[in-house]
Assembly symmetry: C2
Homo-oligomer: 252 residues x 2
């Protein structure tokens, strides 16, 4: 029996991404982490540190997807509003929880555990903690929503604890072929015909430009390994027919 499609949404929370101050990298990290588990990111949003915006996005995304992954807004400062907003999205009570507090006490020492740091122990009722191997203050999972830190190194650490809780479906793999000197307009019709002849595969076309020329990356994606192998061969032929000298650029 074919495995089902399992979907995820990513919600990036923080004024600094919307202002352009910070270049997000967490979306790409999460997408690449989930893909081999058989979970596809199908939507992402970026919202400001505004409770109403976070609540609305969490509720939209958790209802439409199997999983939601949030990053950002769980630190000790006043602009960290994610934990309370996620609790509000679920209508769950929230307060300082003993298990989270114990983690912070151990890390900071009781003398340094001021009110600001205690804020990082505010965990919604019913949530399960997510271990933070980098800076200790935990994330949490509430139902299908995983709430993680925004700092990329900490977020990556938290994903390790999250991975084993996820149930994936069909793994979508990709093959990429590259050709220099070929333009999209010269292969578009052949590519569309190939897509129509390959029901188990989706194809994408990504032009590139660089100081030494231009060309295309053509990508085939499928959860059917045999169909994908055939698609890669078909793409090479398609590019040869267009006068290109294609090469596979897959890592393996």
């Amino acid at each position: 029996m074919a495995k089902r499609r399992v979907t995820a949404a990513v919600l990036l929370i923080g004024d600094e991404i919307l202002s352009g101050r910070t270049q997000d990298v967490n979306l790409q990290t999460i997408a690449k982490f989930l893909a081999p588990l058989g979970i596809q990111v199908v939507e992402a949003r970026v919202v400001a540190d505004v409770p109403e915006a976070i609540v609305a996005a969490v509720n939209d995304l958790r209802r439409a997807n199997d999983y939601v992954f949030t990053t950002g807004g769980i630190g000790p400062t006043h602009d960290d509003k994610t934990a309370d907003a996620v609790a509000a999205a679920f209508g769950a009570p929230i307060g300082v929880r003993d298990d989270a507090k114990a983690i912070l006490e151990k890390h900071y020492g009781l003398d340094n555990l001021n009110d600001a740091r205690l804020k990082m122990a505010r965990i919604p009722e019913g949530a399960r903690l997510i271990a933070n191997p980098v800076s200790r203050a935990p994330g949490f999972q509430l139902d299908n929503v995983f709430v993680m830190a925004g700092v990329p190194s900490i977020m990556r650490g938290m994903l390790e604890d999250v991975g084993k809780r996820l149930e994936g479906g069909a793994v979508v793999e990709a093959r990429t072929v590259r050709a220099k000197g070929v333009r999209e307009g010269n292969i578009a019709q052949a590519l569309e015909a190939l897509e129509q002849a390959s029901p188990a595969v989706t194809f994408g076309s990504y032009p590139w430009f660089s100081p030494d020329g231009y060309g295309l990356h053509l990508v085939a994606r499928s959860s059917d390994p045999a169909a994908l192998d055939k698609a890669a061969v078909d793409l090479m032929q398609l590019l040869r027919n267009a006068g290109g000298a294609p090469e596979s650029v897959d890592a393996d």
Copy 2:
């Protein structure tokens, strides 16, 4: 009279961003382009090359914001679905338009203007073209929605034509101070007090970690220059009080 707040949303369209294949950079480019014009990006979304997803996002975002900027999905291949989806979002007819076709004819020559390339001349009725100084195929503006290419160099080129059509409001400027060896938990209470005492300013706190240490960036944002100057001084003092040796990291 204080200028009003003018808001924008960014809609990134493309499977390749959601799969992690491509690292988006357009959101940051657009945010930094709009800020000095007095337009704040308050929300962003990433959707796949799926017409229904594009239509829903365009309609949500254009109703909630002064401007919407989309990137991606306006090339000649079958996976480029943005133009038709934006037309559908507005209920506008769409077809190959003479002015857009003339641009492509001039660039490609009549012999090379095949059906795939002609697809790039599909422009919704009532839309105004956006000049593409890089690869010629135009974007378009329909009401408050600006539809641009996904390739970053082309998107940047299109922004030049877009800028003069925008009416900005209050310009929000930022000041950033940096201190090594200071932790968020040690300044969070003072920062919250400062925010409460500074109604015209918002403050953000962004920890950094690197092989040679850790520290904070504290950012003040305001559309009131005098309040912002004071906030920068206040942030320096706040960090000194926490034992740091702060420095301003603003470009100017």
